[in-house]
Structures are given as structure tokens and as C-alpha cells.
């Protein structure tokens, strides 16, 4: 269908523009008057926070790239040049490196929100899966970004992670040589990681766009996990949620600023201030904190191929969650049996795995790692399908409005 869009803007100039390219009308439809469930809690801030965080990462990253040198001989020194000589270089770098940590904090909470309130269930399966794709892209981008300072942890982290692919039967070693562009992590590896680290965030932005398109087709889930019944259940996105998101953004920026200005190296590893040395492996190779649980899963299996499969499987299982969860009820608020598992046991197992991943694999850390790994897979592959069948959920409210406007109606419904 062609022809001018029937813009409703009064200003003739804006109307002229919007009739030919109706992005103003589109923005108003998707972010102005967009009907949004009126019962969001602050967990629903984290999608907006992630978007803001992505923007911060791209902006600081583009400016860092203006002063960074991806040559293996100069990379380490150029990062120090950014820190010491470039005007506000320290701020750009600390905002970027701590921004990566903030990004994972925000996205992990965003995912927990989705798990707790069942946001992955029909009709939002694809929306959830696009989110898992975003997580994978984030992980790849963060990993390659961590290599760029070319310190000891950069080098040996890159060596260990790329070597994961050598577990592939038959072609494994050829794949690793191809990834490296040589027979070890070296100058060609650093160059290609820099190239891809610059590219992937834009791919990520594309998938975020699809994630939001899918969200605006199905509409948001909400803390009650029931569908919107009518206009009484919704509020326009602006000004209600633009303002609520703004509160969250302020808190987020406070936490971010505390990290950047008072503890900029607290989440990093001191060994990365030693230039990369291919002849000396650090006593303990530890990935960044946001990879620790997955690293612990890798190390909890004493077989190389199986360990790698389990580690990738821990992400792959997330794609299947919409069908692993057999419960008809979305929100864990109405699922008395499932609620403690998703709210306490799953986060506890991940914190445990994170702690295990930070310690060298000996003594008590080996059985602890296996317990954490076992629970992680048990939760998704056994508990989710099984509890959905045997659990008797609490009665759901009739609509989003009913518990808000008439609490007595819910009380009656529950007691009848």
C-alpha cells in the first residue's frame, strides 16, 4: 500500500514530515500512548535500563576505539595511554569496563524477572528466545572486549575459551587454529577480536530492536501474569512508565557512578595489569565475574568434551524453557510449590556456582561445583515440567484491575 500517511499533527511542518515519514507517529504509538499494564513493579525497569546501558557501552566504546591500538605490540601500552594521557580517558575506560559489569547485572535481573513471573510463556516464547540470543551476543562481545587490553588475564582467558572449541571431535583443532589465525593466541587473534568487538554491539542492537518489536506485538507481561482484559487494565507508556523508568535510571546511575568513581577495579583482576606473556600462565585463570557460574559448570565435569557440552547446554536449555514449564499459570506469585525453587534455590545455585568458579578446582570446591551444576539442570529439566503437573496454583484474580480497585472481590473469590 502506498500513499501519504494521514498524520494527525497540527503543526503544518511536522505534519508535512510525518505524512512522508511517519516515524513521529510510530514513536508516539510505541512509546507515547502505548497501552501498558498498570501494575508493573520496579522489576519492569530493567529492560529500559539494559537499553540505556547498551547506549552507554556503544558511545564510550566508539570513543575508546579512537585511542586504542589493536596491534599486539602496542595494545597494552595504548590502554595505559588512554588511562594516563588521553583527556578523560580514564573515565571512558572505567565507564566501559564497569559498564560491562552493570550490563550483566541488569540483564541477569531482567532474566530473573522473566523467570519468576513466567514472561517466557505463550505467547511470548519468541520474545524470550530473542532475549537469550541477546545474552549470547553480550557474552561473545564481553569476552572479546576483555581480550583487548592484552594483559595476562586477557591473553590466557582468550586461550582457554578459544580452546573450548578444540573439544569438537575431528575438526576441533582446525577450528581453533582458524579462530586464532595462527598456532597460538597472537597478533592476528587480537586484530580480529577488535574488529568483531566493534561489530557485534550493532548486531546486538538489531536483535534488541526485534526483541522490542516482538514485545510490542504480544504486550508486556505483568506481576500477576494474567492478560490485559481491557483499557481499565492499562496506562499509556508516557508519562506513567517513562517517569517510573526514570526513577530506576537514577538509581542505576548512582550504583554505576559508585563503581566507576570509587571502586573502578573492584570487579577486575589485578593480573590484567601485567602485559600478556605467552610463556607464563597465571597461577589462577579466572574469568570476569559474570562468566563464573558457567566456568564452574565447565570445570565440574572431569571430561573435556562433556564439560564443554554442559557449559553450552546451560545456555541452550534457556531456549527450551517456554516448553519445559508445563504450568498454565505464569506468575510464581500464584505457584506455591514452584515459588521457593525459582526465587531462592535457583539464584542460590547460581551464586554457589559463581563462588566455585572463582576458586581453583580442588578440595571442597569440586563437590560444591557438582551440586550447583546438578541443581541448575535439575531445576530446568525436571522441576519445571514436573511441578507444572502436580502443583495446584492459587486462584488467579479476574483482571489486573480487580485486586487493585476491589480487594474485597479477590478476597471473596479466594474464600468461596
Amino acid at each position: 500500500m502506498t500513499g501519504l500517511y494521514k498524520s494527525t499533527y497540527k503543526n503544518p511542518l511536522i505534519n508535512w514530515f510525518d505524512s512522508r515519514l511517519p516515524i513521529l507517529s510510530m514513536m508516539d504509538k510505541e512509546y507515547g500512548s502505548f497501552p501498558t499494564p498498570k501494575n508493573f513493579n520496579y522489576f519492569w525497569n530493567f529492560g529500559a535500563l539494559a537499553t540505556v546501558n547498551l547506549a552507554i557501552m556503544i558511545i564510550t566504546g566508539v570513543f575508546l576505539a579512537m585511542n586504542y591500538d589493536p596491534n599486539a605490540d602496542n595494545a597494552f601500552a595504548s590502554v595505559q595511554h588512554i588511562m594516563r594521557d588521553v583527556n578523560y580517558g580514564w573515565l571512558l575506560r572505567y565507564a566501559h569496563s564497569n559498564g560491562a559489569s552493570m550490563f550483566f547485572i541488569v540483564v541477569y535481573i531482567h532474566m530473573f524477572r522473566g523467570l519468576y513471573y513466567g514472561s517466557y510463556k505463550a505467547p511470548r516464547e519468541l520474545l524470550w528466545q530473542l532475549g537469550v540470543v541477546i545474552l549470547l551476543l553480550m557474552m561473545a562481545t564481553a569476552f572479546m572486549g576483555y581480550v583487548l587490553p592484552w594483559g595476562q588475564m586477557s591473553f590466557w582467558g582468550a586461550k582457554v575459551i578459544t580452546n573450548l572449541f578444540s573439544a569438537i571431535p575431528i575438526v576441533g583443532n582446525a577450528v581453533v587454529t582458524w579462530l586464532w589465525g595462527g598456532f597460538s593466541v597472537g597478533a592476528p587473534t587480537l586484530n580480529r577480536f577488535f574488529s568483531l568487538h566493534h561489530l557485534l554491539p550493532f548486531v546486538l542492537t538489531g536483535v534488541v530492536f526485534l526483541h522490542i518489536v516482538a514485545l510490542h506485538i504480544t504486550g508486556s507481561n505483568n506481576p500477576l501474569g494474567i492478560e490485559v482484559k481491557g483499557p481499565a487494565d492499562t496506562l499509556p507508556f508516557h508519562p506513567y512508565y517513562t517517569s517510573k523508568d526514570s526513577v530506576g535510571i537514577c538509581v542505576y546511575l548512582i550504583v554505576f557512578a559508585i563503581l566507576v568513581f570509587f571502586a573502578p577495579n573492584s570487579l577486575g583482576h589485578a593480573d590484567n595489569y601485567i602485559p600478556a606473556n605467552p610463556l607464563s600462565t597465571p597461577a589462577d585463570i579466572v574469568p570476569e565475574w559474570y562468566f563464573l557460574p558457567f566456568y564452574a559448570i565447565l570445570r565440574s565435569v572431569p571430561n573435556k568434551l562433556l564439560g564443554v557440552i554442559m557449559m553450552f547446554g546451560s545456555i541452550a536449555v534457556l531456549f527450551a524453557i517456554p516448553w519445559l514449564d508445563t504450568s498454565k499459570v505464569r506468575s510464581a506469585r500464584f505457584r506455591p510449590l514452584y515459588r521457593p525453587f525459582v526465587a531462592l534455590a535457583l539464584p542460590a545455585s547460581l551464586f554457589l556456582l559463581g563462588d566455585v568458579g572463582a576458586h581453583s578446582p580442588s578440595g571442597i570446591w569440586i563437590p560444591l561445583g557438582r551440586i550447583g551444576t546438578a541443581y541448575y539442570f535439575f531445576h530446568f529439566l525436571v522441576l519445571m515440567p514436573f511441578l507444572g503437573w502436580i502443583e495446584k496454583p492459587l486462584p488467579l484474580p479476574e483482571s489486573i484491575s480487580s485486586p487493585v480497585i476491589k480487594p474485597s472481590a479477590v478476597y471473596q473469590a479466594e474464600t468461596v
Binding site: W156, N163, T177, P188, P278, L279, T281, S362
Partner: protein, 189 residues
């Protein structure tokens, strides 16, 4: 294209038509074209010619003390050259193949060193698990329960012949191609 629904692509008998042929040829041609364009991009990421040009390394063994070893770089990879003690050689020779995690050749100690030079063990110093450099080449470093090498990353252990004895590493340390030029000099590569 509003009236495309009135087109009849196939005669009612379901015979193969010229249009089917054209679709197949166009599809196959397109796939070949995409592959032909993609391959140079993919192959450009493989090691470049100057990386592949293997330069051989000559190593003087005279300064390497008994019971100790040296580490050098060959093709960007670290290589261990270790001067083994008689006790270490005896232990390696007496280990039955059935005690090994990876009994594939070269697995006997005799196959892993050059005849007549069995005090010299030459290994690519890359753990077969995830590529860390094991400890133990220098005297005084942690050598693990089998007296050879210990990988600090994930706890793999190797014996005095560089054979894996404790996981997660799946394979023995690799022996690079090398030859003795005389009794105190080897050439790797």
C-alpha cells in the same frame, strides 16, 4: 502482481516444467555463488603465509642441568626441553600402558624420546585440555602426583614422559618434530 493468483505455474498433471528447472538452476547457482563469496572471507581468518612459514629452532642442550628444563618458543607455542633423571626415566619406562588415560601412540616412553637420548624429553608445553602451560619444567615448580607436570588452570597432571595421568585433559602432551644434530644440540621443526 495483483492477479498472480490467476497464473498457472504447473500443468494439472504435475509434470516438471521449464519454470521448475529455472528455479532449481537459479537456487543452485545462488548457493554456489554465496559459497564462492564466503570462502575467501572464511579462509582469510586461517593462519597467514608468514605465520605458516615454519622457522626451525636450534637448541643447545649443554646448559640444561640434570633434573631441570628450559622453555622456548616455536611457532608461537612454548616448548619444554627437560633433562630427566635416571629415576624419572625408570618410572616412565616402567609404567604399563594400561595405567594411562591416553594409550594412543606415542605412549611408551621409548616412543616419546629419541633412541640413545632418553634423558631428553621434548614436549609442546600446551595442556591438551584448554591450552595453559603446565608447571613442573623448572625444578622446584609443582609437578603433581606423577612427578611430571601439573596444569594450574584445571588441575590436569602429567607424568615424567608427558603422558596425562589425571584429567580433565584428554590426551598426552604433544611431541614436536625434532632431531639431534649432535649429542648436545637439537633442531625443532
Amino acid at each position: 502482481m495483483a492477479d498472480s493468483s490467476t497464473y498457472i505455474d504447473h500443468p494439472s498433471g504435475g509434470d516438471v516444467t521449464k519454470r521448475d528447472f529455472l528455479t532449481l538452476v537459479a537456487g543452485a547457482g545462488g548457493a554456489i555463488l554465496v559459497g564462492a563469496i564466503a570462502w575467501p572471507l572464511i579462509d582469510s581468518m586461517n593462519p597467514a603465509a608468514d605465520t605458516l612459514a615454519v622457522s626451525a629452532v636450534e637448541v643447545d642442550l649443554k646448559p640444561v642441568a640434570l633434573g631441570s628444563g628450559i622453555t622456548l618458543l616455536w611457532r608461537g607455542q612454548p616448548v619444554f626441553v627437560r633433562h630427566r633423571t635416571t629415576a624419572e626415566i625408570t618410572e616412565a619406562v616402567n609404567t604399563p600402558l594400561s595405567a594411562l588415560i591416553d594409550p594412543s601412540a606415542p605412549a611408551t616412553d621409548g616412543d616419546r624420546v629419541k633412541a640413545g637420548h632418553d634423558q631428553w624429553l621434548v614436549l609442546i608445553a600446551v595442556c591438551t585440555h584448554l591450552g595453559c602451560i603446565p608447571l613442573g619444567n623448572k625444578a622446584g615448580e609443582k609437578r603433581g602426583d606423577w612427578g611430571g607436570y601439573y596444569c594450574p588452570c584445571h588441575g590436569s597432571q602429567y607424568d615424567t614422559s608427558g603422558r596425562v595421568r589425571h584429567g580433565p585433559a584428554p590426551a598426552n602432551l604433544v611431541i614436536p618434530p625434532y632431531a639431534f644434530e649432535n649429542d648436545t644440540k637439537i633442531k625443532i621443526g
